[in-house]
Amino acid sequence: MRLIALCYRKIIDVNASRPWEKLVFEDSYREFALQAQYFNQERKYRTFGELLHFAPGAEQLHFLVSGAVRGYVQQLNNVVPDVVNNIGRLFLKFDKFQFEIINSDLADRTKHQVAISFYTEPLAWHDTIGEYLLVAPPQAESGEIPTQLFRLQPYLTIHSLQLAG
């Protein structure tokens, strides 16, 4: 049996339409605008890309800005957003996440773009049916096992694999 852990990378940009996404967009941009100034005291740079390239230590901004989104990630109650099984229900649980700034611009908030990668707990991958993966909790005993059927989709990947006995 194979155990797989999934990663869903959720991109949030100016097109964010749902309340949770909008809050993450607004608050991460505000935090970026605050914290980026530490690495830009001569106000020479405008974009995150420039800061990363020219300003020593600016890579810390991923971590520093994550403080603004942590509270929102906790509000998800460990349920991976957006990714549903084949009957349309959210079903993936995560316990780890990673926040990153993709792009941003101190003078143009529409350029702000961040990602949150959600890392799931391991799932037992029992079978593949067409384009669908059949997975179940790894600790399931013998007998009837509750399963989930879902398909891989953009921004969802198998992040790690364990071969179990």
Partner: protein, 244 residues
């Protein structure tokens, strides 16, 4: 389960309920409208999912609520061990006879007793159950006296630098007014001597006069007043002027 056996049982199920399967195959939201995946997606950077995948069909919610940045708190200790220390910082206006400035944002951050900052190893995954990721970092808004107070621990030190606290002052709207650092008094009877650099002692310590940030501060503008003891805890206070 063996794949062959699984498919066989699936087919047997299909034979038993052909009407059901036929009905399902007409359901566009379940069955892909084209044979390929990936090419038919309308995703705009992951915020919408593939048109080939079932759309969410769940009750709306939970409803997100506005959550302040995790830095907005007075106690920034986050479980770090060390001698307790409160830091009271007063911000005054150098453009207006040093009048107190209310409503400014003040960020502080400093290292722990061992000399480590919370951002070390910063881009790694964070656990949702682990809340003290941003330890020893805080943000407060100055009150009508221009003051903010943080509860923390006495900072440790690391090679090449005197003990210090970083301060970043912003306007209420977030424009940077001042980036500076707070220095600690040195010598017999000082808090620095009492703490004695924690576990690593003060062997190899960089004193203010040799520090690349504080060595030019002969007037002591960045030097805090620190009172207290290792048993009762320490109280740091400083007034910082900003041009506002």
């Amino acid at each position: 389960m063996e794949r062959k056996h699984f498919l066989k049982s699936l087919l047997m199920g299909a034979a038993a309920a052909p009407a059901l399967l036929t009905a399902c195959s007409k359901e566009d939201s379940v069955t892909p409208s084209t044979a390929t995946t990936g090419g038919t997606t309308t995703t705009t950077g992951g915020t919408t999912s593939s048109s080939c995948t079932v759309a969410p069909t769940e009750t709306e919610g939970p409803f997100p609520t506005h959550t302040p940045s995790s830095y907005v708190r007075s106690n920034i200790t986050d479980g770090r061990t060390g001698y307790a220390m409160t830091a009271k910082i007063t911000i005054t206006n150098t453009n207006n006879s040093c009048a107190a400035l209310a409503g400014l944002l003040v960020d502080i951050w400093h290292c722990d007793a061992e000399g480590n900052y919370s951002e070390y190893g910063g881009t790694a995954m964070q656990s949702t159950s682990y809340t003290n990721v941003h330890f020893l970092r805080g943000r407060q808004t100055t009150d009508s006296n221009g003051q903010v107070t943080f509860t923390s621990i006495f900072p440790g030190w690391y090679s090449g630098r005197a003990t210090h606290i970083h301060v970043h002052v912003y306007t209420a709207s977030g424009t940077s007014l001042k980036v500076t650092q707070i220095a600690f008094p040195e010598g017999t009877g000082t808090a620095l001597a009492a703490v004695n650099g924690y576990a690593k002692t003060l062997s190899g310590y960089t004193y203010n006069k040799s520090d690349n940030v504080f060595s030019d501060d002969s007037a002591g503008v960045q030097l805090a007043t620190v009172t207290g003891s290792t048993t009762a805890g320490f109280a740091l206070s400083i007034s910082l002027g900003v041009p506002a």
